[in-house]
Assembly symmetry: C2
Homo-oligomer: 315 residues x 2
């Protein structure tokens, strides 16, 4: 094995992962699985990178909404442009609190604002905007650019699986093209292997007659969350994964889908129980945590299983 | 280069392909393109395998429709079950003739019959049915199982591109999961790299509580044809191809999308001009053939550019 999960403490969790990889890659072993079927799917927000106090993509959306509200006064009398322009923290705080309680209506208002801001944009322009944000905007608590707020033990796990013949996919409930802007750089995952939610696209030709695909304002259904995850996985991969990792109720169907593979499987549920180095919260993960022991999913404790969380700052 | 297009005659077409591959893979050359951007997209019906007298997938659908009509008498009073059960060649011939003239309504009636036959089926059951058909049912003229009716010079081109660092995708206007049943065996393309049209899927759990994704009767929009092809390509790959190959008007937008890449690109249009070894027809390709010289697409002549068409029969 190229890497021995050096960023993981020597706990039963680490041992279970190493045992699983050894079992399915041992030629002639009773649990051997051929490389073509070694598919792993990883959720992104809260599983591979920070999702608090707000999804990173929503932070990007708020920046873009603020920019547009500054440019176009006529937008400022409706949400989310009004609250963002007026820096109405009460409104924004309520959105976050409602979401944590299971009411996503405020988040949908923000999402509809950001799809409006980016509608009609070319792929290249959208990607440049995302990259600029992820490289430069900083998280308020950790004082680092967002692209440096990835969980290093999980990144190491991805590379360990890749080194053992796995095809590792990201399957994000958030925006696919947002993650594609950086997935090769920060996760070593090609953008064709990043699946996720998206607006729909349409074909067009620009003023020079060059063919383009352009963002619309309409969300593609289903979104890549909950029961939509196995549907997206089938569409993009065409095989059932044997490894899946998530951190919330939105990952339950994916974890069950992987566990439904005949033969040995590995389902991981990352638990945010580390208030010192990251956050401690079970909001939005209650049902998944309750199912884990019954379904045979391994709960990964940030606090106990990981030696480190985020990358060291670049020199 | 691992293979020198040995199944191609030494024509300007073959030379243009070899020159292109040499140019974009020569390190330090002005046209060099790094491996991550070496994306190729190939249409399937009529570009990689036979599409006459009827799409192979429709032949499969007719078999399945006939089977269901034999089992369920109550279906026999409506199309397409009626015509298939009664072997009404006049109705079926009209469907084919209408389609060739640009009226797909009869084909849609057949497609709606086959989505009905397969609705609710698990992935495994659908794939087993397709495999049985492709391995055993024979084309009436060539007296071979359908899976042996692939164009060998194109299969060789795929391998040549793969040997030069390309990621080669199939992007079929027909059914994605139909092609996925055999793409690894007949094209050496992983099923995750087969994009295409599809019904939508939904999550479900079977009687044993195992998570499944199940076929519905509804077609996913857009279908992977015409302006839908670049949209599907973006969703699945996230990069603009630099090589594209097609054979009909439904490939025009894909060929333009590839040609819109900055730098050297290769767009191929396969022309069916070989009545002896395959068929001679321009129906459904008139506009593409007209655009080719203006757009710089290379027209591949089956008759002149290919030494052989189909694989030799297995010993």
């Amino acid at each position: 094995m190229p890497e021995r999960l050096s960023l993981w403490n020597d706990t039963p969790t680490r041992q279970a992962i190493l045992n699983f990889v050894a079992a399915i890659t041992t030629p002639g072993g009773s649990d051997f699985i051929p490389p073509a079927e070694r598919i792993a799917t990883f959720d992104n927000d809260g599983t591979l990178w920070l999702e608090k106090p707000l999804y990173i993509q929503l932070q990007h959306g708020l920046h873009a909404i603020a920019r547009m509200a500054a440019e176009k006064p006529e937008l400022r009398d409706r949400q989310p442009f009004k609250a963002v322009y007026e820096k109405d923290m009460a409104w924004l705080g309520k959105v976050a609190a409602d979401f944590a309680r299971g009411d996503p209506s405020g988040v949908f208002t923000i999402v509809s604002g950001l799809t409006e801001v980016f509608a009609g944009m070319t792929l290249e322009a959208f990607e440049a905007d995302v990259l600029d944000f992820l490289n430069n905007a900083q998280d308020a608590r950790f004082k680092k650019p967002y692209k440096l707020l990835t969980y290093q033990p999980m990144v190491e796990l991805i590379r360990t699986l890749q080194g053992n013949g796995f095809q590792v996919y990201i399957t994000t409930g958030g925006g696919r093209d947002f993650v594609r802007a950086v997935c090769e750089e920060i996760y070593n995952i090609p953008r064709s292997m990043t699946i996720g939610s998206s607006v729909t696209f349409q074909y067009g030709e620009d003023a020079q007659g060059v063919a383009q695909v352009l963002r619309t304002q309409e969300l593609e259904q289903p979104i890549d969350d909950g029961p939509g995850k196995p549907v997206h996985i089938h569409r993009a991969i065409g095989r059932r994964p044997i490894v899946a990792a998530g951190n919330s109720n939105g990952d339950i169907h994916m974890l069950k889908y992987a566990a439904g593979h005949t033969g040995l499987t590995l389902s991981l549920l990352v638990r945010h129980d580390d208030p010192e180095r990251e956050y401690a919260y079970d909001d939005g993960a209650e049902k998944a945590l309750q199912l884990a022991p019954k379904e045979g999913w391994i709960v990964v404790s940030m606090k106990n299983d990981w030696k480190t969380v985020f990358p060291s700052s670049p020199a």
